[in-house]
Structure formats: C-alpha cells, structure tokens
C-alpha cells in the first residue's frame, strides 16, 4: 500500500512568524481570510523572543478527534489524521476537546477547522519549515507497517 503523505513541521526553529502558511491554508483550503480558520496556526511560544510553534494535526492513528466525533464528520484517515465532512458536523465541539495538541480551531459557531494534510501551505513558507512527506517508517502507525503495537 502506498504510504499516505502527512504535513509535518520539522524545522520550526527557522520560522520567522510571517503567518504565510496559515493565511494560505485559510485562503486556499477554507476560502477565508483569517489567522484562525486554518489547519496550521502559528503562535509565539512565550513572547516573540522565544520563537514560534505550529499548532497543526500530528496525524494520530487512531485519531482521538475521530473517535470522539458522534456523527462521522471526522473519520479516521488511513495512515493518520482525519477526513472531514462538514455537512455531517453538528457543532458539538467534541473533536476539539479530544485533540491532545490543540490542533482543531473552533469558529465561534462551533465549526471545526483542522489540517487535511493537503500540503498547500508548504509552498508559502519562505524558510522551508514545513514538509509534506510520507510518514517515516520508524514513526509509522501499526496499521501502516503491519507491525504489532
């Protein structure tokens, strides 16, 4: 089986805080102008002098957000992460509560926004902080490699 690609943020120490990734995701994926409605959000880690962190989906498998979702709006994506069907979402907000890394943004009306690992943000990072790549074998989930947990 061909390994799926996931978005990773391996070089965040290079981040200059320009928000180009978040703005690209909001613009190209979610058709919005916003810092928040994006699958990747950049925050300063204790003030600008200490650098930046990316809040984005780590492609869990199993994904706690998918497990918590009562309607199937969030479904497990083979290889990690989730597939999202907004039409099924009832705005219960359980996905965001279940996410251990605060990767899901909830709009004020409860609509969730999460990374779908499409990689459209990658080209807009001027310092090559981001990467869309096949999950490395050593961190691949059990379902990918066939190994026991």
């Amino acid at each position: 089986m061909k390994p799926v690609k996931i978005l990773t943020t391996p070089r965040m120490e290079r981040c200059i805080g320009c928000h180009s990734c978040s703005l690209a995701c909001a613009r190209l994926v979610h058709k919005r102008l916003s810092w928040d409605t994006a699958g990747i959000r950049i925050i300063s880690s204790g003030g600008l002098s200490t650098g930046f962190e990316a809040r984005s989906c780590l492609a869990c498998d199993p994904a706690p957000c998918a497990t918590a979702c009562p309607t199937g709006a969030f479904k497990q994506r083979p290889g990690g992460g989730v597939r999202v069907k907004k039409s099924l979402c009832i705005r219960c907000e359980k996905c965001a509560a279940a996410c251990p890394v605060d990767a899901i943004y909830l709009q004020p009306d409860g609509e969730p926004f999460v990374c779908i690992h499409c990689g459209q943000c990658v080209a807009f990072c001027p310092h090559d902080c981001l990467e869309l790549a096949a999950r490395p074998l050593e961190t691949a989930p059990a379902t990918q490699t066939g190994e026991a947990a």
Binding site: I16, G17, C18, H19, S20, L23, R27, L28, K31, R32, L33, S34, W35, D36, T37, R41, I42, I43, S44, G46, G47, L48, S49, G51, F52, Q107, P108, F124, P126, H127
Partner: protein
Amino acid sequence: MIRDHFRVLIVDLAAGKGSIVKIDGRDTDAGGSGLAARLFNEYGDVTRPWNDPAQPLIFAIGPLTGYFPLMSKTVCAFKSPYHDQYSESHAGGRSALSLRFADLDALVVTARAPRLSCLLVGARHIEIKDVHFLRNMPVDKAGKRLRRISSGSGHRSILRIGPAGEAGSAMACINVDTYRHFGRLGGGAVMGAKNLKAIVIQGDGIFGLPGGADYAKLFKTVYRQLTTTDMMDKYHNLGTPVNVAVLNKLQALPCRNLQRTSDANIDGITGERFADDTLLRNMACSGCPVGCIHVGFVREKFMAPNQYLYRQVSYDHEPIFATGSMLGMTNAFDVLGIIDSAEKMGLDVMSAGVALAWATEALEKGVISETHTKVPLQFGRAAGYRQAMVHLGLGVNDFYRRLARGTLKAAAHYGGADFACVLGQEMAGYATGEVFFAAQALGFRHSHLDTGGYSYDQKHADKNVDAAVDFLVHDEQERLILTAMVACLFARKVYTRELLGDCLNVVGYRTLAENLDSVGARIQHRRWRLRMDSGFDPAGVEIPKRFTEITNWKGPLDAKVLQTLVDGYAKKIISMAAPAGKSE
C-alpha cells in the same frame, strides 16, 4: 471586509466605552495615510495642544491590508509633542493584520483614562483594564505582563510604552510587538498623556474571500515576485544595515555627530559584522514572507565567576547609525547594548542616539558640563551612553528633560545649535547631500522614507534644483499611494501603480482602482493642509550649520544649492497645502 466605507472603532478612555462608526471616503481617501488625515479632521483639533485629552490617537490600515503580501503596515497619526503639529509614524509587526482581523479599518483613541490603563480590542470585545501596577515599567517587562493579562497568543499585537512615554518625552516611541516601533515624533508621549500604557489588538475575526480563483492566482503571482526574484534580497539578507559599509565608503555616513562622514574603523559595526557576530535570527511582520527584522543579542556577565544573562535586540541601519557611527562606536555588541537601553525606556533609538551625539560634542566644547549629563559622554565609550539613555528616558534632571523635547530645544537653552543634527527632527542616517537634507528637513514625517532624497543624491551629479524639487513632490505622491494601502515601503518596486490597480480590482475596490491616479495628490494636499493649520511654516525651516560643513564623495556640500532647494521645496509645500484653486 470589502465595503464602501470605513469601519472605525472610537474609544473614549474617560467614559470607558467604544463605538463603531461608519466613515465615508473609501473611494477617495483609500485608507492608511488618507484615512488617518480624514479621521484627524473629524476628531482632532489643530488649535488645541497635543496633550489635550480630546486629541485623537489614530491607527489606520488600508484596503489591501491582509489581502496581499507586505500589505503589513499601520499608520499612526497624532498631534506630535515634538512640534505640536499633525504627524504620522508607521510600524508593522502584527499591528496591521490584527486590526484587519479585528474588523477595523481604524482605531481612534480619545480622552484620558482616569488610571493607567490597557485597552484591549478584538472582533468581539472591547475592554479597558486598570494596569496601574505597570507604571514606569520598562517596555520588555511590561510586555511579559501584558501577555499574561490578554489572550490570543500569536494572533494579537501588543502596543506599549515605556517610562519615556509616561514622562511625556517627545522622543518616546510606541513599541509594537517587541521588535517594531511607531518610533518618531513622540507617539509614546501621546499614549502617556492619555494614561494608556498599552493597546492589545486581537485578530480573531473571520471573513469570506473576495475574487474567487482570480484573487488566489494574483496573490500567488505577487508572492512569487517577492520571494523568488532578487527584488527583496537586500532586506532578507543583511537587511538595511547593508547601508552602513556602502555609505561609509561614499563618505556619506554621519559619524561622531556629523563631524565626519566616514570612519576608518567602521568594520566593527557594518551589516556584515552584525550578521557574522551578533545575528540570532530573522523575523517578519505578519503577512510578509521577507523577514527583514534582524534580531541580535547582548550578553552580560552579571556575577563572577561565569554567570551571564542575554537579551535579544533588533537592529537596522538607522539604529546602528544613531547609536553606532554617530556616537563613535566601533563594536557591534556595544551598539546593541545602547539600543537595548533605549528600547527598555521606550525611547525612539534614532532620535535619542542623535541627541546624545550632540550632548557629547556639547560636553567636549564646554557648552554643557557633566553636572548636566550626570555621566561622562565620550565618543566610543558605550557605558556612558547606556546610562544616559536611562537618564533621558526617565527625564532625571532639567537637562535631560530639555533634551527629551528635542535637541534644538536643548540647544536653544544651552547653546550649540550650530552642531545640532536636526532636520525637522533628529537626522536619519544619510549624509548623501543637499537633496536629502532638504527632503528630511521639510518632509512630512521628517523621515528618510517620506521621499527618496538620499537615493536622488546618489543618482544625480547635477545641481538642477527644479528637477530635484519636482522629484520630491512626485515621489511623495507615489509613496502616499502605498502608505494609503498600507504597504511596506520596502515593496515599492514590486507594487507598481498597475499592480496596485489589479490588486484593488480583484478584491472588489473597482472605483478606488480607477481613482488611484488622484489618490496620492488628494492625500498630499490634505496632509499638508493639516500640517500647516497646526503650525508648520515651511518658509521658516532652517538647516543647522553642521550640515553645510560636510564633505562626501561629491565634494564639499554646496550650501547655496541646499538653501535654494529648501526654499523651492518649501514653496511647493505651501502650494500643495493651498485650498483647491488657490495653488500657485
């Protein structure tokens, strides 16, 4: 978001309330500089003093803010404590996109808070918090506490002042997100006069996109131009400090209070030296992939045997010139140490450095004594300057309080006006010649960014005064279109008139795109009108003798040409400010 009017939040600090108002003029005033002038006309009073509580403090963004890369600046407008005239100062950081995402085209702060306060605004909240416990707190420490009392890490902008602003210093800046500033002409004192320690703008709004696929396509084209061509390389690479060595070679770098225009030991403070030895990393304003903010460090041994602390300090050409070559410094870390002291006080580094350069020469010449300066000031000695920055920021005695009002004000009292390096305000870092000196002395912001006068000096060997004046008038107009959008002026070669028209069209500002040709002239007239109504007399501008004594690569400065330029440009400014139909 895309609307035919401006959405403006007016905050009354005395009442503790805000109101959202609709202001007309989108298709004629555009935003930024144009909107700020319109708002000052509406809410300000040219006849009242700068610190009258009723005077507004205005922050305005433009129609393209957040929609395109490098549309990342905010215009701050106020009546300046430096000269009590209508003024602007510009800054980036996250301020512009925070205002955009707070769904505000402008924020206008009026009145005076009863206690030292912090104003917090966002798309869904307005709050004024008592922060009396931050009184006289340095900028860095206040920043840490403000982060804890506000939400929205990463998606907010924190504007704050230091002790200099609270003391009413005409050299007090408004610090923006630690590494950027509304630096010049005393915006920090305006906040201080309003009992306003800080403003936190949270960008928590969400908006639909205009223009569909065409918008995304144009964004990508602009983004590529900015990141894959060499148009922005200067700013991304060494940054503006690349100018230090270049100007020094041209004998056009102000050194030691402009006693010289080059320094044989410049290697210690060039952009290359800063990058090699002190540069920790680059940072960016939100919405700008260029990352021109260069952050260096200072490291201090505070205890034996090996206990050190470090702080991060941003640097650019102007702060390096003002606290480096002007003060005779030849070590990059010494320069960063002086900048750091000024930053903590919330002083504008350029103004404060140039003021201390004058104080040093005044001390050398016996115009003032160490009783005034409290510390020995000697070119090349950093320790005295670090302490003097604190004295200047706090205004510890009559001398420093006078100096904080402007070098020429101090010189009027003590003497030494001949060698005060003041061109409207303390000079910027270019001794390129007659055109730049005239441009800064008369320019609206007294900034090297008002016009490209320094560049004109370098490209033209002739002494055609009429051509130079025409250039200054035309170039200001072109730049005003950009500061109405509000673009970073570093992107001025990318954002041509044609591209700006395309950008406005694609997001839906079609009428404004059609009006673009008249926008610059209209704002130019309105700003100069406000400036003159608030007391500016272009015909009364005098250039201190020191500027006429320099020699650069072109030879000795031509004082006659300089005076003719000043007279000619002053006449044009008076003409531009005249009511329609009455210009010469």
